[in-house]
């Protein structure tokens, strides 16, 4: 059984041949364990043992996040999961985007915890990359080292990862004495209750332009209300309420007024690719669970694995996992090259993977029946979380026009 079909990594964390999961799709390499192996090992070692309990209790575990932030071990870059994309000179792991996607895929498979994987991705990708890409030297040096080791966590609202498809709910007005005043409410912020700072997109009160701001949690006028969706309860969720919240000029990330072309599309593209990556791992985990399940379950007095129908369903799960993985890795790798990434590519990734995930969950639940798989009720949890996943980042009603516009040369 080749790992192409069985998932990137064995359950025990042992590596197999890694050609096809190499971070550069299409490139063959059969040498060192890929970054997904490291991610898988962290996930299966630290996260998975407690996922069922944390999920049931809807509990955020700060110690666990701290452990992930500093996780090392064989194959680890210079930093843990928190600093994947922080450059090495700022204390991070300095992974390429493609490697980071591979780590998240491995994490998703090993951890079986979409909520915690989202929390990791929101901090290590969504909150990190805009600062790296557009931050001033002061912002980069102030925030990124502490984000890299997990001392500080950054947060972003998942309402703000769809460009301007829907109106932004926060406004920014220039303050008389310099700086800006922010007003509004933005919900669906994973990590908000524990965040050191939030990255917030706000439209200018005069209607001209959008700016990105990094707002520290202690700033007067910023209030975090804990709570969020029913999905992904192992993340912590909150709503940021900004009431005449004054921030200095150096809170602006990137070109003032230009976030609609900088951080806005960047957040959308990052969300579409990198928060998809752990789900690819979840699909692999479900596929392997199902392969195991049909071998040991009986229907009509014989192993379900003897049923052609069950076997064909299983094949369809493996196929969706493999295709999604290739797409995510391919699109991620383009972030490593300035000017090569494309919103249409990123949107296609999410569009395909969200549909693939539905197919995988349908198939897995058909094979599992009223009983779930494994001891951690992965199908039930993933089924719940996938509903949310397929809607954030704008959902298909946003993704499809983005992909089509590129084909049709419209916009």
């Amino acid at each position: 059984m080749s790992h192409v079909l069985s998932g990137a990594v064995r359950d025990d964390g042992l590596t197999e041949d890694h050609g096809p999961t190499d971070v550069t799709p299409g490139a063959a390499s059969a040498s060192a364990p890929g970054p997904e192996v490291w991610g898988h090992r962290i996930g299966s070692g630290l996260v998975r043992p407690t996922v069922a309990g944390r999920d049931r209790a809807g509990r955020w575990d700060p110690a666990l996040f701290a452990a992930l932030a500093g996780a090392g071990g064989e194959g680890a870059p210079g930093a843990g999961l928190a600093g994947l994309l922080v450059p090495r000179d700022l204390g991070g792991g300095g992974l390429s985007a493609a490697q980071a996607a591979a780590v998240l895929e491995g994490l998703g498979e090993g951890a079986r915890d979409p909520g915690l994987a989202l929390a990791v991705g929101a901090h290590a990708v969504l909150a990190t990359v805009p600062l790296r890409a557009f931050g001033t030297p002061w912002q980069r040096e102030h925030y990124l080292p502490a984000m890299a080791d997990g001392t500080w966590t950054g947060a972003v609202s998942l309402r703000q990862t769809q460009g301007g498809a829907r109106p932004l709910t926060v406004t920014a007005a220039p303050a008389g004495a310099g700086g800006w005043t922010l007003d509004g409410t933005v919900d669906l912020v994973p990590g908000a209750p524990v965040a050191h700072h939030l990255l917030i997109l706000a439209r200018h009160e005069d209607g001209h332009g959008v700016s990105a701001f990094v707002v520290d949690a202690g700033t007067p006028g910023l209030r975090i209300v804990p709570g969020g969706p029913a999905a992904m309860p192992t993340s912590s969720w909150g709503t940021a309420v900004l009431d005449s919240c004054a921030v200095p000029d150096n809170a602006v990330v990137g070109t003032p007024g230009a976030a609609g072309r900088e951080t806005g599309p960047l957040l959308a593209a990052l969300d579409w690719v990198f928060t998809t990556a752990p789900w690819v791992g979840v699909m692999r985990a479900l596929t392997r669970d199902c392969a195991e399940h049909i071998r040991r379950t009986e229907l009509f007095g014989r192993p379900l694995a003897h049923s052609q129908s069950a076997r064909q369903t299983l094949a369809d799960l493996a196929i969706r996992s493999e295709l999604s993985s290739g797409l995510v890795r391919g699109a991620a790798s383009r972030f490593d090259l300035a000017g090569r990434s494309s919103l249409a590519d990123a949107a296609a990734v999410r569009l395909f993977a969200a549909q693939a995930l539905r197919t995988v969950l349908d198939g897995a639940s058909r094979l599992a029946g009223v009983d779930d798989l494994g001891d951690d009720r992965l199908i039930e949890r993933a089924h719940r979380d996938a509903l949310f996943f397929s809607a954030v980042g704008g959902g298909a009603e946003v993704l499809r026009p983005v992909v089509a516009a590129s084909l049709l040369e419209l916009g």
């Binding site: 994309l85 985007a97 990359v129 790296r132 890409a133 557009f134 460009g163 301007g164 498809a165 001209h208 332009g209 959008v210 990137g254 070109t255 003032p256 007024g257 230009a258 609609g260 072309r261 900088e262 806005g264 599309p265 960047l266 959308a268 593209a269 049923s307 052609q308 129908s309 069950a310 076997r311 064909q312 383009r334 972030f335 490593d336 090259l337 300035a338 000017g339 090569r340 990434s341 494309s342 919103l343 990123a346 946003v398 026009p401 983005v402 516009a405 590129s406 419209l410 916009g411």
Partner: protein, 443 residues
């Protein structure tokens, strides 16, 4: 198990088709020969067209409805079933109409399309908009199957968008009266072979004429100023399809009937019904062929019928067909009771036609190489199925209408230019931003 067997005895072979009260309505490949329709009350299951079924492959390969098939159907009384006695029909009940529609479409979808467009759709339109006395001269031969008709709405420009239609009717100069028609209708069933065309045309109105802008013209196609052409097509090949060019062709005074455009919807939705039954029948034929194949065929030592993957495909098809047939028969009940049921017909047409494509695709898979070999029933059904999705209002266009019926409002068009303002056409930066900095916004 004796008691149970006794109870099960009759049911096992009929299986789930029993839900609809219509079971294996025609024995494909049976003996030739027409069978007259039973009167109302007789079992609809008795309706079959074995000769038409036997000639279905011939129809496909020649691109015409075989004359014997036409005669078999006409002699059966099929063409009269849908019309009241006062118009020369037999006014069959809903069950009989449903059974007849499915039976003929099972036998040969091409023959079904050609004859139903002529006798059902054109017959209905003449009956609804024509004069009950005057137009018996058209209806009588039409329902007897002595002539055939084409329902001529669409033009070259755009499928179902009437605003693009240009064909027009104007008064003939000179003392003989009547009208002249000019224009071209294209992609019309029966166009190459019909005797009569029911043509939607614009009226060139005299000053002071505040009648409708549109009319139906009943055009005799056997005149020099009408030319016609075939359009070869992927499926339903036995159904003549093509165009007709009217070069100031003559239309009798009584045969131009001003009609408000909206009023036509009622007549046209008979087309959706006809197409939906074609889809149900194609799906049923594809399923029955699959069942036969699965029973006969072994692969890797396993009879296909015993393989769960094949069973899953058959079961999914069975359930989809049953659901669709129930809705189709309900629509017939509504129509026969004189209710328009256009909402029901719209959603029926959408599902039925796409369902048949899905079922036919499964049938090809089950048949393997047989299913793509020319001359095999399933190969033909696969090509036929997709035609129904396109024919009589494309299915995606009808979805919009269903949504409108649901209260979503009329379609509103705005040029698609909202992605750029949302920042979603931009090329996003890489991890380290853009190759060069973005310029600040100056308003």
């Amino acid at each position: 198990m004796d008691a149970m067997d006794a109870i099960n005895g009759t049911d096992r072979t009929n299986g789930i088709t029993g839900i609809t009260g219509i079971e294996d309505v025609n024995g494909i490949g049976g003996t030739d020969g027409a069978r007259a329709f039973p009167g109302n009350g007789a079992a609809p299951a008795a309706i079959s067209f074995p000769g038409v079924a036997a000639r279905a492959a011939e129809a496909d390969s020649t691109g015409r409805v075989p004359a014997e098939s036409w005669k078999e159907v006409a002699d059966s009384g099929y063409l009269r079933l849908f019309h009241p006695p006062e118009l020369g029909g037999t006014g069959a009940d809903a069950d009989t109409q449903s059974a007849a529609l499915e039976a003929l479409a099972r036998a040969c979808p091409s023959t079904y399309w050609s004859m139903s467009v002529s006798g059902l759709l054109c017959g209905k339109v003449i009956g609804m908009y024509g004069d009950p006395v005057e137009h018996r001269r058209l209806l009588d031969p039409l329902l007897a199957g002595e002539i055939s008709a084409a329902f001529s709405i669409v033009e070259r420009t755009a499928g179902s968008d009437a605003s693009t239609y240009r064909t027009s009717v104007r008064r003939a100069p000179g003392p003989n009266g009547g009208f002249l028609i000019r224009g071209e209708k294209s992609r019309i069933t029966n166009a190459p072979t019909a005797d009569l065309a029911i043509v939607l045309a614009r009226r060139e109105k005299d000053a002071g004429d505040d009648g409708p802008d549109w009319c139906l013209a009943f055009v005799d196609l056997h005149q020099p100023r009408v030319s016609r052409y075939d359009i070869p097509h992927m499926g339903l090949r036995g159904m003549p399809w093509g165009g007709m060019i009217f070069n100031d062709a003559h239309v009798a005074e009584a045969d131009v009937i001003p009609v408000p455009f909206e009023a036509l919807a009622e007549g046209m939705s008979w087309g959706w019904l006809k197409t939906s039954f074609a889809a149900v029948a194609i799906a049923e034929s594809a399923l029955q062929a699959s069942v036969r194949h699965a029973k006969q065929r072994e692969s890797f030592g396993r009879p296909l019928a015993h393989m769960e993957g094949v069973q899953a495909q058959l079961a999914d098809s069975r359930a989809q067909i049953d659901a669709t047939r129930l809705l189709a028969r309900r629509a017939v009940v509504e129509r026969v009771a004189g209710r328009p049921a256009r909402d029901l017909l719209a959603l029926l047409k959408v599902y039925a036609t796409e369902m048949a494509v899905e079922v036919a695709t499964r049938a090809v898979q089950i048949h393997g190489a047989y299913g793509v070999t020319s001359g095999h029933e399933v190969e033909r059904l696969y090509r036929d199925a997709e035609m129904n999705v396109i024919g009589s209002f494309t299915t995606n266009r009808l979805r919009e209408q269903v949504a409108e019926n649901l209260g979503a409002g009329a379609p509103v068009y705005a040029p698609f230019d909202w992605l750029a303002p949302a920042g979603l056409t931009a090329l996003p930066p890489g991890l380290d931003g853009f190759p060069r900095p973005v310029e600040p916004v100056h308003d």
